[in-house]
């Protein structure tokens, strides 16, 4: 047993926002006072029963929770091993898990009296969720999205605009999620007096990784209960895809102290780990970007490298700091799936289960195709089906017709 292992994997972060060496608050001084205010506002909200009650009301009637835990009978039969369940986050309002976090943050923003909300988005799912909640609560909404992603995720751009958000295509750097986050941070520094930055994943300066995790943990909390009802026990393994890692953290966190539960995160291996990819843990090392220390893809000079994934939502050269810590402690095993593997899984799931998944969870399905056959039939495996594939239909359609590669 590693003597440095904690008594609990669920007690982080410490008061300075650290998970082991990861996390922290690496931001410009202009933002620091606001980040300290946010930390306090979130702590107050968490301790306020009326906040939780109000959020539960919206989660039930507006988001449509609880999301079902579904036994994927045909996929289970096809793979011939573990009994596979899907946590159906793609059935939430707005089509992904992102809304769980956005609802929570918007409610904190309202408590802080902020009227203008900014967000970064990759695939557009976080942008759509943010635009949706801003419409619902009458808040101004500006979404930064890499110009490359604007191009490949057109349906979500149109949705955000219909919801009244302003979508700003980001032309700097690699013109994907990393650059959208840079420009969102620049906007925030400029408009710090009235603006709330609604970060879409378990990354950024403390308290964001903790706060986003807490809002997403509803996924794992429901899964525990639903699995007990369905099978009378805990699942044996969990699988989720990881860009920044919010859907994964939401599913994993409530199970971290159950040693019988094996946990797998799946990063995007793009064209393969020796070529362009987005697998920060497999191909990166600890560095500091976007307010936290975490695993990053970078060169020998500490310059951040461009990530690549077929999935815009995973196309990010970093990962949430708590994942870096869970990797180093060995509690979670991080795997990766290539673009081609994800595409194959996308098609398999569409045809076997009648569920078109987003390209992001298709990466998780791709690894389930390897993991499930090696496990006994009484092994209970839960996959977080974090988003639906409507947004990806035009892009995948083009790829399958051979128009694009």
């Amino acid at each position: 047993m590693n003597p440095n292992l904690p008594n609990s994997f669920r007690s982080g972060p410490d008061e300075r926002g650290h998970f082991g060496i990861f996390g922290g608050r690496f931001v410009a001084e202009t933002l620091m006072p606001l980040i300290l205010d946010l930390e306090k506002a979130y702590a107050d909200a968490k301790a306020d029963p009326s906040f939780q009650a109000e959020m539960n009301g919206y989660l039930k009637d507006y988001v449509g929770r609880p999301s079902p835990l579904y036994f994927a009978e045909r996929l289970t039969g096809h793979l011939g091993g573990a009994k596979i369940y899907f946590k159906r986050e793609e059935l939430n309002h707005t089509g992904s898990h992102k809304v769980n976090n956005v609802l929570g943050q918007i409610m904190v923003a309202r408590r802080m009296g902020k009227k203008r909300i900014i967000a970064e988005t990759g695939a557009g799912q976080h942008g759509v969720a943010t635009a949706t909640l801003c419409a619902r609560f009458g808040l101004d909404c500006v979404v930064y999205m890499g110009a490359v992603d604007v191009e490949r995720q057109q349906p979500n751009v149109i949705r955000m605009e219909m919801l009244g958000a302003k979508v700003i295509p980001v032309q700097s750097g690699s013109r994907t999620l990393k650059d959208a986050m840079n420009d969102a941070l620049r906007d925030w520094v400029t408009n710090v007096h009235d603006t709330f930055y609604c970060i879409g994943t378990v990354a950024g300066p403390h308290p964001y990784p903790m706060m986003v995790r807490d809002f997403q943990s509803i996924i794992g909390i429901e899964t525990r209960q639903q699995m007990r009802e369905a099978e009378g026990r805990l699942p044996d393994s969990l699988v989720a895809c990881i860009g920044g890692g919010s859907n994964a953290m939401g599913l994993f966190h409530p199970f971290l102290d159950d040693p019988s539960v094996e946990i797998f995160g799946v990063e995007a291996a793009g064209h393969g780990l020796t070529q362009l990819h987005a697998a920060s843990i497999a191909g990166g090392r600890p560095g500091v970007l976007h307010g936290n220390r975490t695993y990053l893809l970078m060169d020998d000079d500490g310059q951040i490298q461009d990530a690549h994934s077929i999935s815009a939502g995973l196309d990010y050269p970093g990962i949430g700091p708590e994942h870096s810590w869970l990797h180093e402690t060995g509690r979670v095993t991080y795997l990766s799936a290539t673009d081609d593997e994800a595409l194959a899984a996308f098609q398999l799931l569409s045809r076997l289960e009648g569920i078109i998944p987003a390209l992001e969870p298709a990466h998780a399905i791709a690894k389930v195709m390897e993991l499930a056959p090696k496990r006994p039939k009484d092994h209970l495996m839960v996959i977080n089906l974090s988003g639906r594939g409507d947004k990806d239909v035009p892009q995948v359609g083009d790829i399958l017709k051979g128009k694009k590669k």
Binding site: R16, G24, R25, F26, V27, A28, E29, T30, L31, M32, P33, L34, S172, G173, K178, N182, L185, R186, V189, T190, N191, V192, H193, G287, V288, L289, H290, G291, R293, L296, M298, D300, D301, G302, Q303, I304
Partner: protein, 278 residues
């Protein structure tokens, strides 16, 4: 311990004038031209030189300085080469203070202890690291001060009286007051408002206070210099440099003089502040 920065401010205090502080990106548009520019700055009137360490993701910088960093990286600039540039400058000038400004990751990857030894040996006097607030002082600030480098902190309009003591606690050399909430190269600040902010900071510290962000003209530099111990100009110099490049972004015969001429006129603005104050 006295650094070149402390000595320079003591000297300027005797002369009764404020400092003119220049910022340019190391390696922009290429390492050799960049060194030539830096070497020309003291003669043109720069009292303190800030050198940007290029980084791919400069989250507090506007488009001009972002582009400067990318030009430098494209030309092969690295942190190691930035330190070589400092050594090159120090061959001819052992008095002008040099401050490295940038983001933490390249230093973290270089290795904090090794970086501090190498930077000190190269002739660096101070560091300004945008993404290291006082909450992260154990990372670099405390080791840097121990190594004999000034750690210059940014104070901003959002740094209120309650927070100022924490910001000033481990600051040395000078305080860099960011006159606006925003990124580099954006709107300029009203010099009267800046004057009040500087006075507020001075109630908490004896350190000199320099003001930057949004200063582009000799007149603006002069107005700021009347209200502070120094005026910092960056984006305007980077823009002048960029305007001198050829269509492929390469240096031309005009590049060094373009920057030096603007530095001269801005320096005159700052020096004019002394007469205005008298």
């Amino acid at each position: 311990m006295t650094t070149r920065i402390d000595a320079r401010f003591a000297e300027l205090a005797k002369q009764g004038r404020s400092a003119f502080v220049t910022f340019l990106m190391a390696g922009d548009p290429d390492p050799k031209t960049s060194l030539d520019i830096i070497k020309a700055l003291p003669k043109a009137g720069a009292d303190i030189i800030e050198i940007g360490m290029p980084f791919t993701d400069p989250m507090a910088d506007g488009p001009s300085i972002q582009a400067a960093g990318l030009r430098a990286l494209k030309a092969g600039m690295t942190l190691k080469k930035t330190l070589e540039m400092v050594r090159g400058f120090r061959k001819d000038d052992n008095a002008t203070p040099l401050v490295l400004m940038g983001y933490y990751n390249p230093i973290y990857i270089y290795g904090v202890d090794k970086f501090l030894v190498d930077a000190k040996a190269a002739g660096v006097d101070g560091l300004i690291i945008v993404d290291l607030p006082p909450e992260e002082d154990t990372e670099l600030c405390l080791p840097a001060m121990k190594a004999g480098l000034n750690f210059i902190r940014l104070a901003t309009p959002t740094t209120d009286d309650k927070r100022l003591p924490a910001v000033l606690a481990n600051t040395s050399g000078f305080v860099y007051y960011v006159s606006i909430t925003g990124i580099t190269g954006s709107a300029s600040a009203d010099s009267n408002v800046v004057g009040e902010a500087v006075a507020r900071i001075k109630r908490h510290t004896k350190l000199p206070v320099c003001v930057g962000f949004g200063i582009r003209t000799p007149e603006a530099a002069r107005a700021i210099a009347e209200n502070a111990n120094g005026a910092v100009v960056g984006t305007a110099l980077v823009d002048a440099l960029r305007a001198s490049l050829d269509a492929e972004g390469r240096a031309t015969a005009k590049t060094v003089p373009a920057v030096a001429d603007l530095v001269s006129s801005l320096a005159q603005g700052v020096r004019g502040a002394r007469q205005a104050a008298e």
